[in-house]
Symmetry: C2
Subunit: 605 residues, 2 copies
Amino acid sequence: MNDIIRERLARLRAWMARHRLDYCLFPTADFHNSEYVADFFKAREYFCGFTGSNGTLVVSNDWAGMWTDGRYFIQAEKEMAGTGVTLFRMADEGVPTINEYLKAHMRPGETLSFDGRVLSARLGLGLEEDLLPNGIRITYDTDPAEGAWPDRPALPCHDLFLVEDELAGASAADKLAQVREKMKEAGADRHLLSGLDDICWLLNIRGGDVACSPVALCHAWITDDRVILFIQEEEVTPEAGACLDGIGVERMPYGAITGFLDTCDLHGHTVLYDRERMSYALMKKLQTQAEKTGGQWVEEQDPTKLLKAVKNETELTHIRQVYLRDSAVLTRFLWWVKTNAGKIPMDEYSAALKLDAMRAELPGFIELSFPTISAYGANAAMMHYEATEADHADIRAEGMYLVDSGGTYRGGTTDVTRTLVLGPVSEEVKRHFTAVTAGMLRLANGRFLQGCTGRNLDILARGPVWDLDIDYKCGTGHGIGYMLNVHEGPQSIRWRRIKDETEAELLPGMIVSDEPGVYIEGSHGIRTENILEVVSGSKNDDGQFLGFRMLTWVPIDLDGIDPQLLEPRERKWLNDYHAEVCKRISPFIEEEEIREWLKEATRAI
Amino acid sequence: MNDIIRERLARLRAWMARHRLDYCLFPTADFHNSEYVADFFKAREYFCGFTGSNGTLVVSNDWAGMWTDGRYFIQAEKEMAGTGVTLFRMADEGVPTINEYLKAHMRPGETLSFDGRVLSARLGLGLEEDLLPNGIRITYDTDPAEGAWPDRPALPCHDLFLVEDELAGASAADKLAQVREKMKEAGADRHLLSGLDDICWLLNIRGGDVACSPVALCHAWITDDRVILFIQEEEVTPEAGACLDGIGVERMPYGAITGFLDTCDLHGHTVLYDRERMSYALMKKLQTQAEKTGGQWVEEQDPTKLLKAVKNETELTHIRQVYLRDSAVLTRFLWWVKTNAGKIPMDEYSAALKLDAMRAELPGFIELSFPTISAYGANAAMMHYEATEADHADIRAEGMYLVDSGGTYRGGTTDVTRTLVLGPVSEEVKRHFTAVTAGMLRLANGRFLQGCTGRNLDILARGPVWDLDIDYKCGTGHGIGYMLNVHEGPQSIRWRRIKDETEAELLPGMIVSDEPGVYIEGSHGIRTENILEVVSGSKNDDGQFLGFRMLTWVPIDLDGIDPQLLEPRERKWLNDYHAEVCKRISPFIEEEEIREWLKEATRAI
């Protein structure tokens, strides 16, 4: 593999030399700043071998570096070994950011090139700010991958499908009215929307253009009385077409967005867009056109972002039901692994396939919400490890096995992690396992005033791990879409401040993951992840109190717990949770044997 | 009192009418945005009667409103009863900010007037931004108080005194070198410093111009090779003068700062200043002059702010010693109240006088660090209640008594709160008392990664209170100066985001208060406050872990604790703390009787 990467980089450098480009930058995004992207957009992976969901590659004529976050340090090191690409561990002490690196290494007159369509406006503006004053040139209107990726996959193109109002809880017309209200509040009468999940949520449509994310490639232009959807016409089934026509959505070809913006008369109009979800190229085009025709723009968070994050009652009802079924499937799978490990042949890859197949049988199953992480032993220390047919470990009756998985169903998107103890484990491992469990429970049982953001709450989950002088290098939790992306903002549970990022208050109806962990490189990895719904508590003169309700109902392996290390309240939380797991999940399990096991697995300690 | 206030307001309104001013605004600050201010600056108190340390009064020709924060809601209501001034409870749901109120009520062409010298640059700019677009005029060059406050006190003028290097741990020359280094980093070669504690810290001087804060009124102008101190010459004793001369500090009269800025040639120079600590008037003057003479400016936090917040080893050594002695005094006082309440006549005021006198006998005592809060029964629900000779409650052998007090000594500034149980209390009160104690201990025993700010940690202290559906409407903790202000930034422990405010990371050597509370209006108030020193824990690949070390060693009244409501680890923390209190404080107590009581008061539960 490493030779292949070196060959690809050589081809890229030859292309760069022909075009007199000194540095090329490849982020991980499509034209919509999506987290998961179609193969067409995987240039970063193509040129460095790193397959994780977050990373940026920078290539010069004699050097290449790749920046990724703590979830992927171990994986990236492994995947890029021998490629000559240097790993930059983001947020580690002394590690420069991409901008800092470029600022320090690029000389005046040199040119940085990237495809402006796959870089977010915010990042592009950041590069402008840091590099232009040093006399560095930026070109963003050609795609460096284009010239050096001969066998590049085509743009994906799959059929749209509809989310009926009974499933959505609100019609597209209602949602449009809400968005137009927010546009008005922002002083805008035009809105360019590029986030795929935002557009799909808004119009109650779904697609199949991105793996693990039921969305279609599209842009939307919204005015007081018009909606134009830029989409590949081949994707629009007769049914979807009729529905879009019915709510007055006009259609133009996907690629026509640039021409549309080039000729758009913005005189007297104000366009709302979100730097975070808009590509640098589209933003530049929009601003140029506004300046040319006498229009204005206002940058704000896409109104859809918060609207879709706060789930409505219909969505919540479906989600709760979907999580029950999904939890039952995982419980059956855990029983199977726990009972059979060491007795029958079993490996990370085959186990994942088995779990994926079990999920696929559930009613309303659409696809996995992300590639199943099935990690045995030391592999579990890689937060986003993916076992492959070619490269995986056997699962044996010793150590631990971590499985992080989820599905998207008609009625919700799930995400859940459990770590199984398959043989005797050390006191140290139990200390880690118990701390992770305690952290998950402390956050899930947290009570707080409305106004809190995830930064206020993170320490509830992370505290027990920090008490052991250990950190996990990622957030504690993320929002989750409804039949949409498994990672969805604006809310999150994390402790670090991210520059320029707005912190979103937690609001009733939001759902977030709660997934503390311990990851010891080369040894073991433990993560326990439940999904929580934010619910209202009492309201008094001090304000509106909030708390969480569990959505996930899967046993936590008691073989990993040292009860002596739990506080009484934590033990009570665990026992109460397990009692509920048994009560709620048993009805979904037909086999007496598994029901008996579940009873034992959820016993009070 | 209310008639007096009404009369004063009438006089003010007559003056406003003569000068055609529609609204006047009185913040709580001196020319240096100090928290505690000399009597000369107490215009807000003069015109509305509210004596708290934070509040802004707005007066129109037929209306007046006063904004203050949650610590003062009860007190302000009481003090302003009958004055006709409306109380605005800041941060309460639906309560407009001052700017929102003015924006909604002032009409185009109307004029808002305030003394630009007593409003921070940030607040002044905020008013500009919100009001100027609406056609509202702002005048800031006359002092509205001047015309309507005939018997106004004079500017204070007290002798300077010196802090020897052995006490400061760093010479003024060393500190100046550090500040100049930071100026360079900020790209500045001029620095206007207006924060009194910052200047006193920098030059190792102290003064007596502000009650409870050993500082002198002054400004400082710092260049690469000059320091000009603007100060009342009468304050400069021969000794102080010789010392300042010795380190090359030039002197100009206090009031000369405006003239100096008016004639200063800034061509080719860049001035650093801090919006938070600079008056609106001086900032305007500086910017005008820079524009006129071709200079630049850069707004950043005063470099002194962070430098003085991180205490050096010498300071910490003195602080630890000072806190021991101060804790011993408070312990003796608590014994006296606890033993004598109900037996001898005792009231809030006389008790405070007694405690203040006991502190005054300690070696190196300079002054109280703030007016002692001595509050019995329901009065303790007012967070910053101050009993007076004329208005105070008796202390009886029932309910609870709260005392929050501190001193400034040569060697440190202290702050400590304890709540005593003086008779039988309800289960509810015990629940509150125990939660407050648990919260204080949870924060004090917190372990966290460097990079955390108080917003990450606040929930440790507040969580047990929130678990009861109760909030305390203030931060959990503040930084503390060294022989300086009892409230000192930049660090704090609080959960709410404050717009535009930088969140400061906690760093080893910082000290912060840890003071959760429960305040039930009309019933009771409980607060337990220890001061903590931030200390380094282990450092590994995950980062630098930090924790706290206690500085305060005073028993927490076990009569308020229900041991059943404490988790085992909390009980252990309490017992360990009490064992240390007994060990550390006993040597400072001569009387056998009190030592015996202390032993009992710090028994393990």
